[in-house]
Symmetry: C2
Subunit: 422 residues, 2 copies
């Protein structure tokens, strides 16, 4: 007997018919002798519906009190879907009970709309499992030290599921979603992209942060930290598929580098269009300019990703970094009004037509020349590289947005990631 | 400065526009210097929407576990509307916070879907009021001793509001609804029915139990028990009506028989079509037959209202009582299979075409002849009385359903209840 955590996304919970299918699948696992904990998202569309109502009523300048109420509101979506799933399981003849975040409790900090889980009490769930019940735990939410409802932010149910799996020392956490696993790259860009049967946490972490939207990045961090065996699989396979086959489907995200692990140097090509480039040109090259520029940006709560400082020429240098699209205008404005005058820099220029392409793989650690293969491949396609950033297991470049698909396809081929290539 | 509790029904909370109106009204009261606690219902239609989803998934034989999940589900409606109202108040520049039943906590027993409030902790609400906040408390729900969410049954938000008012020792509890007060009878039946400016708790209790659906009966019981000054008024008056005028509108339900109280002998005519008559005929007249018949009915959880045992003739008697429409078939079946054979009774007959009409008034206590005025009036209209039941402040009769409107109109006139009559 294993203890298994299932997580179902909003699409899987999108109608009573689908909830009924989820119940049948979970019932199958329970009847196979497993102790089952299930973490459902809100029914698809529900969270958006609720937040749209809030937006209609929202004050002009939202305060912390407003975000507190948003969490009160949004948390109802998962409470409702969890109760419905418990009811659907009862209809399958499976004893089942649902708990909200505060009933467990799942303790978080007080950062409304993006709270972080601090602790989970497993006593209540464990007692119910011992009593033979399937336990449903609302995703996405918790309770802070003062008893306020908090939510974990979009995609937070993934994190809830992994956190519950960690707290319960579950044997495996299965994330049922609308894709059937993690691919070498987006199959919509490269048609022969291949599904990976296993991928390491570190790789998954890089892929998630680089825009592969299969899993919420914090859920992967959590899984890595607490060594939770995590599997991404499709909720669209029929519920009555053979359970052994189902247990082996999708992509296993593992912390063990076992023998069965694929030996590829590069596991995948990630890309993202979410960033824009900002450059401060003609900065007098004195100690402390990075701090003066990025300190002001950080103070404005703007997150910076890649950073490059060019070599100095004639006592002046150029300084570039990337920020999210939504922060672009604000960053430019901030630099022009507050930073440039103080620094005596020449000007600020922005570029919103860029993209980031990355190769990711734990194999890169021990293989020199992987980055140079990347650069050669892009060069052969005539693609100019604007920025480069490297880590132990990934190399990212910023290029003109219009070359994105071309770059991804060329790299996918250069690193031999296509189907049936090995 | 007074401490005022407002309660708003589902229609008043039916859209963001209406929620915004409620917020403006509450803000007006807060700005007038009152400490405000507001108890909203779910947005109209929401509870039905949720319960319909549950019904689609429900197991064939619902257990207590099922009703537990129904409460988890249904409670989300008020949680959402409460958060939205808090947000709308913030948009009005009024500091506001919402709490669920478990956050207060409002402690109830564990009778899911029809729980009863046991205690309310006022510490959290009081602290917020002192800090100048308007506090929103979710109606309809509480938490049992084990931390499960419970609901109070349909209309339970009225009870929540009165219970909160009692716990907080509020100066007044204002129930905003879609009627503008309590009438001498249903204005749809008698066009010149008159709005009462005050009515006693005892009268209100009788009227509520007799089918005047202005207030949930338990909320009136609660108000009487804890001496909460209760006012029913319309949520459709413009929010910016003069506050003094608003505070005096509607109907005040009071426990004090003060001088201003209207001196009518009969305050109102109530009626209801919800009951049916069941008769066991030809019962051998021995001690214990009432117990043998009604004991079996009570054991089946069927509620009995009026009861009549005829005078014995030839050692046999007839026994009649009324039950709710929904219990009619079950009651007949129960009597036929379990009671009649044991008693040696002749037969069981039912009549679903009846109605109950009642005159209600605390003035009846000290006035003889009120009941006889009622009987004479009905007799003059040629209406046959099938059953009679009396108490200190009401007299009820069961008559043929088809004479209901005629009886109500005749009685309304006979007791001088019409507009401008005094």
């Amino acid at each position: 007997m294993s203890l298994i955590v299932h997580k179902y996304g909003g699409t899987s919970m999108g109608s009573t018919e689908r909830i009924s299918s989820v119940a049948k699948r979970v019932a199958k696992w329970a009847r196979a002798g497993h102790q089952m904990v299930v973490v459902p998202s809100a029914m698809s569309g529900e969270t958006n519906r609720l937040l749209a109502l809030a937006k209609e009523l929202a004050p002009a300048t939202p305060s912390d009190s407003y975000y507190r109420e948003l969490d009160m509101l949004a948390a109802t979506g998962e409470q409702a879907s969890s109760a419905l799933l418990a009811i659907a399981l009862q209809a399958q003849g499976v004893d089942s009970v649902s708990y909200t975040g505060w009933q467990i409790p799942i303790r978080t900090d007080s950062a409304y709309t993006k709270a972080r889980i601090e602790s989970i009490d497993d006593a209540r769930v464990r007692a119910d499992l011992e009593a033979g019940k399937v336990v449903i735990v609302t995703g996405f939410q918790g309770q802070d030290a003062k008893g306020n409802i908090t939510t974990l932010g979009r995609g937070g149910s993934d994190t809830s599921a992994v956190a519950v799996a960690a707290a319960m020392k579950a044997d495996e956490c299965l994330i049922y979603t609308d894709v059937d696993g993690v691919y070498t790259t987006d199959p919509r860009v490269v048609s022969d992209a291949r599904r990976l049967s296993t991928v390491s946490f570190e790789e998954m972490l890089e892929m998630a942060s680089l825009g592969s939207k299969v899993l919420q990045i914090r859920s992967v961090e959590f899984a890595g930290k607490y060594k939770v065996k995590l599997r991404v699989l499709s909720s669209f396979t029929p519920w009555d598929i053979d359970i052994v086959e189902e247990a082996r489907s999708g992509t296993l995200i593992t912390f063990e580098e076992d023998e069965n692990m694929e030996k590829a140097i590069v596991s995948g090509i990630a890309f993202n269009r979410d960033e824009t480039k900002v450059s401060v040109l003609g900065v007098p090259d004195k100690p402390g300019i990075a701090y003066q520029i990025l300190g002001a940006v950080a103070d404005a709560n703007i997150e910076v990703d890649m950073i490059i400082q060019n070599i100095s020429k004639d006592g002046k240098t150029d300084f570039s970094f990337t920020v999210n699209h939504s922060d672009h205008a604000r960053t430019i404005d901030l630099l022009k009004t507050q930073v440039v005058p103080k620094l005596g820099a020449q000007e600020v220029v922005g570029d919103t037509k860029i993209c980031k392409v990355s190769i990711v793989g734990i194999g890169m650690r021990s293989h020199v020349g992987v980055a140079s293969t990347m650069f050669r491949t892009l060069s052969e396609e005539g693609i100019n590289i604007q920025m480069i950033s490297t880590s132990e297991i990934k190399t990212s470049v910023v290029i003109d947005e219009k070359y994105m698909e071309l770059a991804v396809r060329a790299l996918h081929k250069a690193f031999g990631l296509e189907c049936d290539s090995k």
